[in-house]
């Protein structure tokens, strides 16, 4: 389908984005150091942003880079460095015997089934332009009008969600004097890490 109108640059951009997306994703899973996983995650997120631009979702591509690569991954890196867990994970021990082969088989079956199901259904079907028709030259305007009219209630609900998330993160990360006694901390004897983590709450993502 659409074979006649497909051009070489389009295919090249698609292949580049797919390679960056899948290569980064494999890197996230196989990297033993959490920092390397986070760097590979950035590659995947930028590849997804490239795929968004290729499909005329320019605003979402910008948001993808700013929010995901700029805020969420930085928050991951911040927590990794904050906790000092940037060590290599011990991968030789397999706590649950046969977990990895079974996981690979299960994921293979699910992914293969997903692709087969989509292919059997003709990849996509349904009514066109129900909410509002897209306009590749004005995707910000169309998206903004849709969010502030059709999805206004959901948009307002997200503001509440973000406030709850920030308050919850602050409450979780806050260190109260009572919590020191309640929490069973075997490495509490030196008290070194406790003084260091006093005020820094990882609630800056919202």
């Amino acid at each position: 389908m659409l074979a006649a109108t497909r051009t070489i640059p389009d295919v090249l951009v698609f292949v580049a984005s797919a390679a960056v997306i899948l290569g980064g994703a494999v890197g996230v899973v196989v990297a033993r150091n959490p920092v390397h996983s986070a760097i590979n995650l950035i590659a995947t997120l930028l590849g997804v942003a490239l795929a968004f631009i290729e499909q005329s979702a320019n605003f979402l591509a910008a948001v993808q880079v700013i929010v995901y690569a700029g805020a969420i991954v930085i928050l991951f890196l911040f927590v990794i460095m904050f906790l000092g867990v940037d060590r290599k994970e011990q991968v030789s021990i397999e706590p649950l015997a046969g977990q990895r082969p079974m996981a690979v088989v299960a994921v293979g079956v699910v992914t293969g089934g997903l692709i087969a199901l989509m292919a059997a259904g003709g990849w996509y079907s349904g009514a066109h332009a129900v909410v509002a028709p897209t306009d590749p030259s004005n995707d910000v305007g169309v998206l903004g009008r849709s969010i502030f009219t059709t999805y206004l209630f959901a948009f307002e609900a997200t503001s509440l969600l973000l406030i709850i998330a920030v308050v919850g993160a602050v409450m979780l990360a806050r260190r109260t004097p009572d919590a020191d006694d309640a929490v069973d901390a075997p490495a509490d004897v030196d008290g070194r890490a406790e003084d260091r983590v006093e005020d820094a709450a990882p609630g800056g993502a919202g």
Binding site: I21, L75, F76, A103, T111, Y124, A127, A165
Partner: protein, 101 residues
């Protein structure tokens, strides 16, 4: 823009599979969170693709909300990781097995 939707949907399915595999095999809570982000991105890619081929901006609006939910999820999730790390000195999920189940 003329790439068929099926190509993107296959990439999206593969990305989702890799993310699910990571959640199943990794033991570091932080890496498990990153793999959840991979799965959310796979869903976003599929939504944008459907938005393009159906000419409906609803898919893009949904991606917008998924981004907000992902930000909230990471904020609270990492707060929980920090809290557990203080109690257990570890971010390995197997170390948090108090119920011995």
């Amino acid at each position: 823009m003329t790439i068929p939707a099926s190509w993107y949907l296959v990439v999206s399915a593969l990305l989702f599979g890799i993310g699910a595999l990571g959640v199943l095999v990794r033991r570091n809570a932080l890496v498990i969170f990153m793999c959840i982000e991979l799965m959310l991105n796979a869903a976003n890619l599929a939504l944008v693709t459907y938005s393009r081929v159906l000419g409906d901006v609803g898919g893009q609006a949904t991606v917008f909300f998924v981004l907000v939910v992902a930000a909230a999820e990471v904020t609270v999730g990492l707060g929980i990781v920090v809290y557990i790390f203080r109690a257990r000195r570890s971010t390995i999920v197997d170390d948090v097995a108090e119920m011995e189940g």
